[in-house]
Structures are given as structure tokens and as C-alpha cells.
Assembly symmetry: C2
Homo-oligomer: 303 residues x 2
């Protein structure tokens, strides 16, 4: 079985750097999909699955990964099941595309063990027998090494990965992440160095650790500083598109050989039909066009 | 409807300071409960619910709150439902006892809005129509004010609360939380001050904000420092018992009027029958005895 990093490297080699974020929001889902599923037992859950499936089918040949945002699914049992069905669809139809579960978990050791199995699931911990879970999961760093350790262990055992928050893309991040330590290091760089330490033993033949970092596109100078500081860390980069990060900004997340980063776009792609740029286009075509535009724009910025 | 703080204050007034943590672990659940549920459609989920119900019935008159650790339930759909059934049982049988959902969530704004509704659930976002969700939820601070803001808003609107990680009880916490900032403040105190700021507008007539802090018992000096620094912040204190914190340690979490803290114990109580101190006792009696012992020990330390 190829590992998470094997799959990702293959996509980078094909010039694919965009990750499409599947943040299903019932209020924003196109009306025709809601109509199609209105007679189902759980219309919202069915609509989420159909929505994801259409996005996946329209963009699978353009992306390096898909990211599923747990928050949009876990509020209800039925929609949580539709998340698992989405995993299963992806793994069956497009097994070569890595899936990242954006869950931002972490807790003390014995609790993180549970979360690790629930997110990077072993089949025995999963309710869908043939679902082996996502390829990677996002984690929060505040509680330290023993809180992320159980996830890293499962990732190492199963050829999967984790992405630990280092510098996030939201405005409020600065209050803690940019605070300066006594030696002048900002907290986010201190956390970045720890993330590299925690993943140092898991650097493979491809030169990257399976312990990655979340680094936002909205602070390109910090992104550039971290790229130099953490040469063996893969960056999952939110903040491109709807949150304001440009292609030139996200280009700073890559190494000179055009590897090392996954550029996520969620709202800017999956609700592209609401943008003036794609007015009048059927929803699936708008999704495809927005993904293609992002793919080209980032590839051009990497020339 | 009494608010979360109303309920808690009533329990403190009765000399109740212990919160029992419902960390259901199938491997540790007493065999007789597993036998009882072995013929059910989902034996593990049924056993979790029976386990929780027995603990609640055995300890409800001794505690100030119950804490449900999401990690132990969310790995499977059926066990996740048993968590919701536990909420419902508590709210029906013992509506005066606050319930804390230990989920350690937080994300960027639009995602935190989803998590806030999924955890501190509005009925409309809930799959059990008569379940109005827990009274409070635990959150991670690293992403800053806009990441916890949506939870605080729901808490304010619904008379509920949040507890944000400030100084956690695990050994690995020190690497980030004890790092010193340029003015000599450790990161955990910086975060503590931010938590107080974020909750300043929500201080009620009882003198406490509905924005609380998680502060571990394993570092009593830090706990004492935070108690002085954050006079209007309720502390949820893990680390007592199984993790090593003593009654004298956790006493530092309280103000002189014996209010301001919730002392959690999970493994030390719910698996007390495995302790030599309660050998030979039926499981429910061991649970009750361990809770009573904790209640008395903490009350004595507060004299």
C-alpha cells in the first residue's frame, strides 16, 4: 500500500498542489441537489453526500488531496455518517488521492489514543467495515508531545500523517502565536520547531516527515520563515482564496523543487457558483473551473 | 431556566466540588454489565449507556457536575448515540446537575460556529429533539479569540459555559505552556489573561464569567498563581487522583469562600473497583465510595 506521502508526492509530480476542502453547508448547497434528496430519509445527510460526490467527480484530476472538515458533519449522526460515506466513495473511486480529516483534536494521552483511533481509524474501531479512515488528521499543539503522540504512533504504524497547527490563518491567531519568547522567537516558530522534533524520527526516503504543520497563507512572511526553518515538514496551507491569501503568498510554502505544500481552498471552490467570475455556469462546472484556475495560478507562481 | 453557573453555585453551596468524568472504556467496564448488554444490537453502546447510568445513579448526590469525554464516544456512531442518551438521561433524571462536554474543540470562525452548535447544541441542530446539549464545553486556545468566539456566543445566548485550556495536567504541557515570554510571563499565564479578557463581558451577578479555564492539579504552584490572577474565572481542574494531584493541591483552585473550581476525577472513580482500597466491593459501591472519599477529602482540605 502506498503511504500518505507516496500518494502526495505522486500528485506533486503531476503538478497538482490544490486540496479541495469539503465544508458542506446545507444553506449554501445548490437547490437542485436539495430537491434531488428531499424525499430521502435524511435529506440533509443525502445532500451532503451528493454534494461531496459531485465535487470529487468534478475535480479529482486537478487536486493533490481532499480535506474533510469534521465540524460540518459531526453535529448530527446522519451527517456524520455521510462523512464516512464520503471517505468510502473517495477510497473506492479515487484511491490514489489522499484524504485529510480536519478535526483539530488533541488531549491527554489515554484520551488522544481514543481520538487517534476514531480519526485515523483502524478498521476495528470503525463502524464501516471497509473504511480504513482518512490518510491524515489535523491536530492542536497546545498540550504538547504526549497529546499528539498517540496520533503520530497510529500514523507511523499505518503509513498515514498528521498536521499540527503552527501558524493559523485567522486574525485572532496573533494574540498567542505571535507572542515573543525571551530569546525573541515567536511562539509559532517555537511550536514549529517542536513539530519538527516530534516528527524527526519519521522522515522517510522522500525527505519529508509524516508529521506535518498547518501554516496559513495569510501571513506570507511567516510562511516563508517557516519554510526555511522546517525543511522536512509538509505544510497544509489554509487561507488561500476566500480568506485572502494569493498564489504568490502560497508559493512561499513550497521548496524550490515544487514539493512540500498542500494548498487548501474550501469556500472559494465549492461555492464558486456564487462568485461573479462564474456567473451563469452550472454549479459543477463552476467548481471545476475554480479548481482549474487555482491549479494554474499556483503552478504559474511556482515557475 | 437556571444557567450553568446557577446550577454550579447551588452545588458548591451544598459542599459538592467533585465532577465525575464519564470516560467509558469497553475493556475496563465490569464484566456483569457487558453480559447484561451482550444480546443487544450494539453491545458496546448499550454497555456504555448502562455504565454511565449506574455511575450517575450512584454518585448524583455527591457531585457538582458530570463530565463526558467525547473521545471515548465519537469513534463509532453507536457509541456516539450512547453519549447523547447519557445527556438525555442526566437532563431528565437530574436536571440540576451541570454536564460538561470535554471535547477540546476550536477552529476558524465559520468552522467554530458549526462546532459550537454541534457541542453546545441548539435543539434545531440536534438529532434528539428533546436534548438541549451539555451545559458547557472545553476548548483549545491556540487559534485565539475568533476561534472560541462562536462558542462563547452560544454559551452567552443559552446560559451555558466554556472552559478554555490554560495549563493542562499532562507532562508534555510544559514545552509550550511554560515557555517564558519577553516580559517573563509564562505562556500559560498569558493565555489565562486572554481567557479572562475574552470572558470579561460575561461576568454575572455571582461574580464569575461563563468563560472558564482548564487548569491542571499536577502543578499546584501554577494553579495558585492563576487563582490570584483570574479572580472571576471558574477553573475546571483535571489531574486529581489517577493523575497524581492531591486534595491539598486542588484546594488551591478555590477562592476563600470555597467557590470557583470543579475538581474532575475520571479513572480514579469510575474504575475504583480495580483499586486495592475497594477490593471485594461491588463496582457501583466502589464508585460511590470513591466519590464520597474524594468529596470528603476535598471538603476537609478547604476547611
Amino acid at each position: 500500500m502506498p503511504t500518505f506521502i507516496d500518494k502526495l508526492k505522486a500528485k506533486w509530480n503531476e503538478g497538482k498542489f490544490v486540496c479541495v476542502g469539503l465544508d458542506a453547508d446545507y444553506e449554501k448547497i445548490p437547490p437542485f441537489l436539495k430537491q434531488k434528496t428531499s424525499g430521502d430519509k435524511f435529506p440533509e445527510a443525502s445532500a451532503f453526500y451528493e454534494f461531496n460526490k459531485s465535487i470529487i467527480d468534478s475535480t479529482h484530476d486537478l487536486v493533490c488531496a481532499f480535506k474533510i472538515n469534521s465540524a460540518f458533519y459531526e453535529a448530527k449522526i446522519e451527517t456524520w455518517e455521510s462523512m464516512q460515506h464520503t471517505f468510502r466513495y473517495l477510497q473506492t473511486a479515487y484511491p490514489d488521492i489522499p484524504i485529510i480529516l480536519d478535526a483539530k483534536r488533541a488531549d491527554i494521552g489515554n484520551t488522544s489514543e481514543r481520538y487517534a483511533l476514531g480519526t485515523l481509524a483502524d478498521p476495528q474501531f470503525d463502524s464501516l467495515d471497509d473504511n480504513t479512515g482518512p490518510d491524515a488528521v489535523t491536530l492542536a499543539p497546545y498540550m504538547g508531545e504526549d497529546s499528539v503522540g498517540p496520533f503520530i504512533k497510529v500514523a507511523a504504524d499505518e503509513g498515514k500523517g498528521v498536521f499540527i497547527l503552527v501558524r493559523t490563518s485567522n486574525p485572532g491567531a496573533a494574540a498567542i502565536q505571535d507572542a515573543l519568547l525571551q530569546d525573541g522567537t515567536p511562539v509559532y516558530q517555537h511550536v514549529g520547531k517542536l513539530v519538527a522534533q516530534w516528527g524527526a524520527k519519521l522522515v522517510g526516503t522522500r525527505g519529508y516527515s509524516s508529521v506535518g504543520a498547518v501554516v496559513g497563507a495569510t501571513n506570507p512572511d511567516q510562511l516563508a520563515a517557516l519554510r526555511v526553518l522546517l525543511p522536512q515538514t509538509i505544510f497544509l496551507v489554509p487561507g488561500y482564496g476566500a480568506q485572502g491569501g494569493s498564489a504568490a503568498d502560497v508559493a512561499k510554502a513550497f521548496k524550490p523543487d515544487r514539493t512540500g505544500a498542500i494548498i487548501n481552498s474550501s469556500r472559494g471552490i465549492i461555492y464558486a457558483h456564487k462568485s461573479p467570475a462564474y456567473a451563469g455556469m452550472p454549479w459543477e462546472r463552476a467548481v471545476e473551473a475554480a479548481t482549474l484556475a487555482a491549479k494554474k495560478e499556483i503552478a504559474a507562481a511556482l515557475q
